[in-house]
Every structure is written in structure tokens, then in C-alpha cells.
């Protein structure tokens, strides 16, 4: 099973790596978009599955990254785009930190969910006022940057280079998150989720771990948003509102929220559903809504949980817990 999982990850990696040579440009665009969504969904799942906090306004942090990067590119700031990415991540982390210290002090459970939702809607409204961020229309026709390094330059105006830039950043972000959840902090986060009281007993500062998890998650969400600006070339308030906040939840749940790779499977599944039903208005909502209900009812552990269950039936006994 473990071997099968490794092979599956490798196949997935190769599929995304070779996508520009295998499929037509329309699908390549969707693949790039899916990679961005994967980073976004993983950042949410980091918070949900590992720290036990269900944020309903995660798109706000995605929006911070997307809008700052879009404005920087539109105004032609003389900065290397890699630097812009870092700045976006830092701003996302800062915004998430502010939200966390205000919200986590007072609220938990449903209050936490609704406060994060309200704060993200506030961001949508503030963007609507802002001339600089293009009101409700958003920022469109964002130019793609050319990055000059000392020895060579990377020209994102070439589609292939652009794809591999998004690919590289996403793989780096996914790798970082993987290291994070399998390290000391990840274990502390899981301890806090499973039993905050006991975690406090063994010397974990519960509040600090939660704030830290929220901050890190915000940074990754903002990075994903910042990648959207050069890839999609348009950023609108739709990427900030609560329906976009729901996307990572769908993906995580569909793929299996208890698994690190769950959101990856979920995003690919959702993208495929959206792509296959793109010509028939309404059908994609029916299918996505229906599959969500079916997953919640029949396979609460998501697709990966179902696969493990099937594998466990035929193979040997598998140890429980996150893997």
C-alpha cells in the first residue's frame, strides 16, 4: 500500500511535469490552475487536519497574495517576481497572524467559522471600494514578468517557461508543507487538535501553536494567490469571496481530509468534474454537490480513505492514524 502510494505520487508528479507535451494548451492551463488550487487546498488542510481549525474565510489570504502580486505586475514594480512572491507570502502570514490573535482569543467552533467568514467578506467589500484594486471588476490583463537573475533570465511570457515556473513554486511549497507537518511543529499541531488539554499538560503552548499554524497556512494561501496573477492574468473579487473559501474544503474532503495528499486528489477530481461538465450549465454544480453528499455519507474519509479501506480488505492489517 505504501509502495502503491509512492508510485501514485510519482505518476502524478510526472503527469504534471510532462503535461505541456502530452495535452493541448487548454488542458495545460487547467493543470496550472489545478496546481495553484492544490497549494491553496493543502494550506487549508494544514489548518484543518493538523491544527483542528476549520477556517471559512481562507480565500481572504489567497486574495491578499493575488491582489498584491497583480498590482505589482500591473504597475511594473522593478522587483524580481520571486521577491514579489516572498513579499506576498509575508503579507499573507501577517494578515493571518492578525486574524488569529484577534479571533482565537475569543471564539471557537462555529463562532470561529463565522468570524473568519465575516472577515473575509469584509475584505471583499473593502476591495470593492478600492480604486487601486479595480473595484468589483478586479485587475485584468496582468502582464507576465521577466525575471533577471545574475547569470540568466526567466521569461514568463513564454507559456512553457510560465508553466514550469508555477510547477516549480508549487512543488517547493508542497515539499515545505510536507516537511512541516512531519516535523516537530506538525506533531505539536496534531497533539493540539486531538486533545488541547493534554497537549498543554505535556508542555505545548496551545495558543501559540494554533496562531503559528494559522500564520503559516495564511502564508501558503497567499503564495498560491500570488501565482494566480501571472498564470490566470486576471484577479477578481470572486477569488476572495466565501464560495472560493469553500473550494479547499471540498477538495480536502473529497480527497480525504485525514491524509496529507487528500487535497491533491480532491482538486484533481474537482477539476476533472468541472472540465467534463463545462458545456452544460448547472450540471457541474449538481455533480459536485451530489458527489460531496455521497462522499460525506458513504466515505467520510474521502477517496483516499476508501482506497485504503479497499486495500486493507485484501492486504494485511494497516496501522491507523495519519499517513
Amino acid at each position: 500500500m505504501n509502495r502503491a502510494a509512492h508510485i501514485a505520487i510519482l505518476v502524478l508528479f510526472l503527469a504534471f511535469f510532462l503535461a505541456p507535451f502530452l495535452v493541448h494548451p487548454g488542458l495545460v492551463f487547467i493543470a496550472g490552475f489545478a496546481m495553484i488550487q492544490i497549494v491553496f487546498a493543502l494550506s487549508w488542510n494544514l489548518l484543518f487536519s493538523y491544527a483542528g481549525l476549520a477556517s471559512f474565510g481562507h480565500a481572504a489570504f489567497f486574495g491578499v497574495g493575488a491582489y498584491v502580486a497583480a498590482a505589482a505586475l500591473r504597475d511594473g514594480l522593478p522587483l524580481n517576481f520571486v521577491l514579489v512572491l516572498v513579499i506576498c507570502a509575508a503579507l499573507g502570514a501577517f494578515a493571518a497572524f492578525l486574524v488569529a490573535i484577534v479571533v482565537l482569543r475569543r471564539a471557537s467552533g462555529i463562532q470561529f467559522a463565522v468570524l473568519t467568514l465575516a472577515l473575509s467578506q469584509l475584505v471583499v467589500i473593502l476591495i470593492g471600494y478600492s480604486e487601486f484594486f479595480g473595484h468589483d471588476e478586479g485587475i485584468s490583463a496582468i502582464p507576465r514578468p521577466v525575471m533577471n537573475f545574475w547569470l540568466f533570465s526567466v521569461d514568463l511570457r513564454q507559456p512553457l517557461v510560465n508553466y514550469y515556473f508555477v510547477f516549480t513554486v508549487c512543488v517547493l511549497a508542497i515539499g515545505l508543507m510536507w516537511l512541516l507537518v512531519n516535523g516537530h511543529l506538525g506533531r505539536a499541531m496534531r497533539a493540539v487538535r486531538i486533545d488541547p488539554e493534554r497537549a498543554a499538560f505535556v508542555g505545548i503552548d496551545v495558543w501559540r501553536v494554533r496562531v503559528l499554524a494559522f500564520t503559516i497556512s495564511g502564508a501558503f494561501a497567499a503564495t498560491a494567490g500570488a501565482l494566480l496573477a501571472p498564470w490566470g492574468q486576471i484577479v477578481t473579487p470572486d477569488y476572495v469571496n466565501w464560495l472560493h473559501s469553500a473550494q479547499p474544503m471540498f477538495a480536502s474532503l473529497l480527497g480525504g481530509a485525514g491524509f496529507f495528499w487528500g487535497p491533491v486528489v480532491g482538486v484533481i477530481g474537482l477539476s476533472a468534474l468541472n472540465y467534463l461538465t463545462r458545456t452544460f450549465a448547472g450540471l457541474s454544480e449538481v455533480l459536485i454537490g451530489g458527489s460531496l453528499i455521497i462522499v460525506v455519507l458513504l466515505a467520510p474519509q474521502g477517496i483516499l480513505g476508501m482506497l485504503r479501506h479497499l486495500a486493507g480488505r485484501t492486504g494485511a492489517e494497516k496501522p491507523g492514524g495519519h499517513k
Binding site: F48, A54, V102, R106, A107, G109, I110, Q111, A113, V114, L115, L117, A118, L119, Q121, L122, I125, L126, G128, Y129, W242, A246, M249, F250, L253, A281, G282, L283, S284, E285, V286, L287, I288, G289, G290, S291, L292, I293, V296, L297, P300
Partner: protein, 291 residues
């Protein structure tokens, strides 16, 4: 200047009653099922579409308008019963997040089905002739606004008296507060739950049928009211009818006065108020005992 403020206050109360009509079913569903029903907005929208399908663009008479709202209530109520039997009942023991996802799934499903059944176009709907009048008492008052206030107060009184004074309401409260104990003392918990869920969904249908006039009927109709109703339910204290009523009026006034006092920043008052209120009083205005 005073008349402007009075006009804004009147509009705020009308909006508050409209929010309450949506929030009433939501808070009832929360009190009984212990879930935050994201699908409520979608059911509200279905109610509006059903009423529109019956009356057309303008209801020819007041009884037809009310009748259409009643039919919408019955349709949505029976859809709610189906949803409870097929989905929510099976999710009784699982963590709240999964139920939320299921509700989200139902919302998407309903939106998709409505899109397929009724199309994407936006319809303009007008209240029936009996309600389209206007009065001047220093500022203009619409008959439809008065009608909405009347409906809101009527639903509030019905629920408040029904839940706290009538035998059936007390049974429902007993089931909501402690299902296990209610079961031990011989109540039919599942049946009572089902009835109250049906009432909660029927309320969404009524709200859809009543509020559809003076709106542009579109697939986004549910979302705009749903978020405001969420705010009212949270601030009111989850599951409390009285709290939802007061909070709905507060938010209606906030939204309406916002457009007079801060015309350059529409829509900000509600969310700022929500954040402040939840931080000051996270348990809500009237915290329910069962929490």
C-alpha cells in the same frame, strides 16, 4: 434631514424583518439538528422560484400571492423532509464539519437543479396591486414594507408562543435540549425532529415566497440573505428565536443607516458590527441552554 433618518430607520426595520424571516428557520434548524444549514439559502431561493412559477411576474391578487407562498412552504418543507431522511439523520454522530460539508453539497445541488430547471435569467418581480401602494407620513412608506413587517412580527409571535407556551413546542424544546432524556421519558424523538425540521424548511419556503417581490429573482438571491441571516443567528445566540429577531433588526438598521451615514462605503456596517459583537459576546445575545 430627520425625515431622511426616519426613512432609513423604516427601511432598516423592513430589511431586519426580511432577514428574520430567513433567520427564523435557520436558527430553528440549528436548535434542533445542531447543524449550521448552509443549504437554507438555496431552499429560500427554491421557495422564491416556486412562488414565481405560480404567480408570474405580478400576482393578480393578495390571496394568490399568499397562496403561492404557502405552496412554496409546502414544496420546500417536503424537500427538507427528504433531505433530513436521506442525509442529515445519518450524520447525527459525526463531527460538525462533515455535516456542514453535506449542507454545502445540498446547496450546490439545489442551485444546480434550479439552474437547469429555471434557467440563468434574472426576473423582476412586483408585489400584487393590493400591496403596491405608498403613504406619506413625512417620508414615504410602502405598503409592501408594512406587509413584510407584519409578516415578520407574525412569524416571530407564532414561533415564540408556539415554542414556549404550547404543548407541542415544549416537546420540541425538550428534544432540542436533551434528545437522550426526551427519548427515555417516552417522546418520539425522531418524529418530533422530523416535524420541526419540516417546519424549519417550510419557513425558508415562506420567506422565499413573501420576499420575492421587489427583488430581482436570480440564482444569487439565496446568498445575499443567507449571509445576513447567518450574522443574525450567530449574534442572537445559536438556536434562539428571540435573539435572532433582535439581532436581525440590529443588522437591518445597521445596513440601512450605513447607506445614509456612510454612502461611500456600502455594506461595511454589518460586518464591522458582526465582528465587534461576536468578540464582545461570543455566546450571543440570548445563549441557548443546550449549547
Amino acid at each position: 434631514m430627520t425625515s431622511l433618518y426616519l426613512y432609513a430607520i423604516f427601511n432598516g426595520v423592513v430589511l431586519g424583518m426580511a432577514i428574520f424571516l430567513v433567520a427564523a428557520g435557520l436558527t430553528l434548524a440549528f436548535g434542533i439538528m445542531k447543524i449550521f444549514n448552509f443549504a437554507h439559502g438555496a431552499f429560500f431561493m427554491i421557495g422564491a422560484y416556486v412562488a414565481h412559477a405560480i404567480t408570474g411576474q405580478e400576482a393578480s391578487s393578495l390571496p394568490l400571492f399568499l397562496g403561492a407562498a404557502l405552496v412554496a412552504a409546502m414544496v420546500v418543507g417536503s424537500v427538507g423532509v427528504l433531505a433530513d431522511l436521506a442525509i442529515f439523520r445519518r450524520l447525527a454522530g459525526v463531527p460538525a464539519e462533515y455535516t456542514l460539508m453535506a449542507a454545502f453539497g445540498i446547496m450546490l445541488l439545489c442551485t444546480g437543479v434550479t439552474r437547469i430547471a429555471f434557467g440563468q435569467s434574472v426576473h423582476a418581480i412586483y408585489p400584487p396591486a393590493a400591496l403596491s401602494g405608498m403613504f406619506f407620513v413625512g417620508f414615504p412608506i410602502t405598503a409592501y414594507g408594512l406587509f413584510i413587517i407584519g409578516c415578520g412580527v407574525a412569524v416571530f409571535l407564532l414561533l415564540e408562543i408556539g415554542l414556549n407556551r404550547l404543548w407541542f413546542g415544549k416537546l420540541v424544546l425538550a428534544v432540542a435540549r436533551d434528545p437522550w432524556m426526551a427519548n427515555v421519558s417516552g417522546l418520539r424523538v425522531q418524529r418530533l425532529k422530523l416535524i420541526s425540521v419540516a417546519i424549519s424548511f417550510a419557513l425558508a419556503g415562506v420567506a422565499g415566497g413573501l420576499l420575492v417581490a421587489n427583488q430581482s429573482l436570480s440564482l444569487d438571491l439565496g446568498h445575499s440573505y443567507l449571509l445576513l441571516a447567518f450574522c443574525a443567528v450567530i449574534v442572537g445566540g445559536l438556536g434562539s428565536i428571540r435573539g435572532a429577531f433582535i439581532a436581525a433588526i440590529i443588522f437591518g438598521l445597521a445596513e440601512s443607516l450605513n447607506s445614509v451615514l456612510l454612502p461611500t462605503m456600502p455594506g461595511i456596517g454589518v460586518y464591522a458590527l458582526l465582528i465587534a459583537l461576536v468578540l464582545i459576546r461570543p455566546q450571543g445575545l440570548y445563549p441557548e441552554l443546550s449549547q
